[in-house]
């Protein structure tokens, strides 16, 4: 799963949001690191809707323009959680390995 897709799905975990709100939520969640470009957002939304991970929840008129809100489907929710799990396991390979290496170094220093 590509990073923009992951953050679109992750932004929707807290409930349905419209386009700009998804951009803002993804930015907040990533502490400003991920700023979804508008075209990227709608490409991701189109694909995720076609794959059944995201669905249109509501439509309203704001300043004469249609504003659509999108929500996660059960498949979308499962997909983002599975991806988070996969990344956590991948991260543990590094963080646990680093901790073990630190432990070995500590023991060596104590015995020296």
């Amino acid at each position: 799963m590509r990073e923009p897709t992951y953050f679109v799905l992750a932004a929707l975990l807290s409930g349905p949001l419209h386009g700009y709100a998804i951009i803002k939520r993804a930015e907040e969640m990533s502490n400003g690191r991920v700023r979804l470009a508008t075209g990227t957002l709608y490409t991701a939304l189109d694909r995720l809707t076609a794959e059944g991970c995201v669905r249109l929840v509501s439509e309203e008129l704001v300043a004469g323009r249609v504003r659509r809100s999108y929500g996660l489907t059960d498949e979308g929710s499962a997909a983002v959680r599975a991806e988070a799990q996969r990344m956590a396991e991948a991260a543990r390979l590094v963080t646990d390995g680093a901790a073990r290496a630190r432990g070995r170094l500590g023991r060596k220093a104590r015995t020296a």
Partner: protein, 286 residues
């Protein structure tokens, strides 16, 4: 409308018209909210993502049809483009001949061919009634054959025109090309007028437009391979009469080998790309 909104709408032109109708207002609203105040253009990354997103949406249009249906649409556009080109060429010949002191019968025949071929083109583009298309194509074929008999030294044109009429009848079924192809068909149809109305520079403009059309459609292969295939079909139909006449005169095909190789290569790459861009279906259309 603010300058920013105007520029947002301009950027949305990268998307297909149907997509813009459905999502244009929504994307414009998001862009206006996402753009910092005081700017007349969205940030560069938004511009880039919109243009790329628009191209991706255009490429995705093919994916709802299988390769065979997309190929048939591309071939129909090429054939219809060639027939529209021929109809306008006959119309021009009719206008020139009928206003000259002699040659009236040939002028009336050219006018009849222009009308009949033009009707066949229009019906092949919009009608789903095979009988109506055949009813227009048959008299057009007879008139074209008569014109061919009139000029026995150049029988390549009527042969290719008859083949194109038959191809239009066979290809005009199922999903049609859609109005967004009309500008391309209109452009090639206008070529004989460009050549006729601009004595001296006409052939140069004609050739330049053909080259631009060919190069443009080849570059567009990345997004949609159908224009390149349509252009190859059109250019092949455009070139073949000269090739046939050269062979008939004993001049051989040597001079025609480079264009044939180039057109075949463009068509082959186009078909390969089209297969990758089309739906993985076999049940629909064909």
């Amino acid at each position: 409308m603010t300058a920013l909104e105007r520029h947002c709408r301009l950027l949305l032109l990268a998307y297909p018209a149907a997509y813009r109708r459905d999502r244009g207002e929504e994307i414009t609203g998001t862009l206006l909210e996402a753009t910092p105040e005081g700017r007349s253009w969205p940030p560069a990354r938004d511009i880039r993502s919109l243009v790329m997103g628009g191209f991706r949406a255009r490429a995705a249009q093919n994916r709802r049809l299988p390769t065979a249906a997309n190929l048939r649409i591309a071939a129909l556009v090429g054939v219809v483009g060639y027939l529209a080109f021929s109809a306008i060429a006959y119309l021009w010949v009719a206008l020139v001949t009928l206003t000259a002191p002699t040659g009236r019968p040939a002028g009336w025949l050219a006018l009849a061919i222009a009308a009949l071929v033009g009707t066949t083109v229009a019906l092949a583009w919009v009608s789903s009634r095979r009988g109506a298309i055949v009813a227009a194509a048959l008299p057009a074929a007879i008139a074209v054959s008569l014109a061919g008999a009139w000029r026995p030294a150049a029988f390549g044109w009527p042969i290719i025109e008859l083949a194109s009429l038959a191809a239009a009848v066979l290809l005009a079924r199922g999903e049609r090309p859609g109005d967004r192809w009309l500008w391309g068909v209109g452009l090639v149809a206008a070529l004989p007028l460009v050549s006729g109305l601009m004595p001296g520079v006409g052939p140069l403009v004609f050739g330049t437009l053909l080259v631009v059309l060919g190069i443009g459609s080849v570059l567009w292969v990345v997004i949609d391979a159908r224009p390149a295939i349509a252009a190859a079909v059109f250019l092949l139909a455009f070139w073949l009469p000269t090739g046939i006449d050269n062979v008939a005169r004993g001049a051989g095909l040597a001079a025609g080998v480079p264009p044939l190789v180039i057109l075949s290569a463009v068509a082959a790459v186009g078909v390969w790309r089209l297969h990758r861009q089309s739906a993985r279906l076999t049940a629909r259309d064909g």
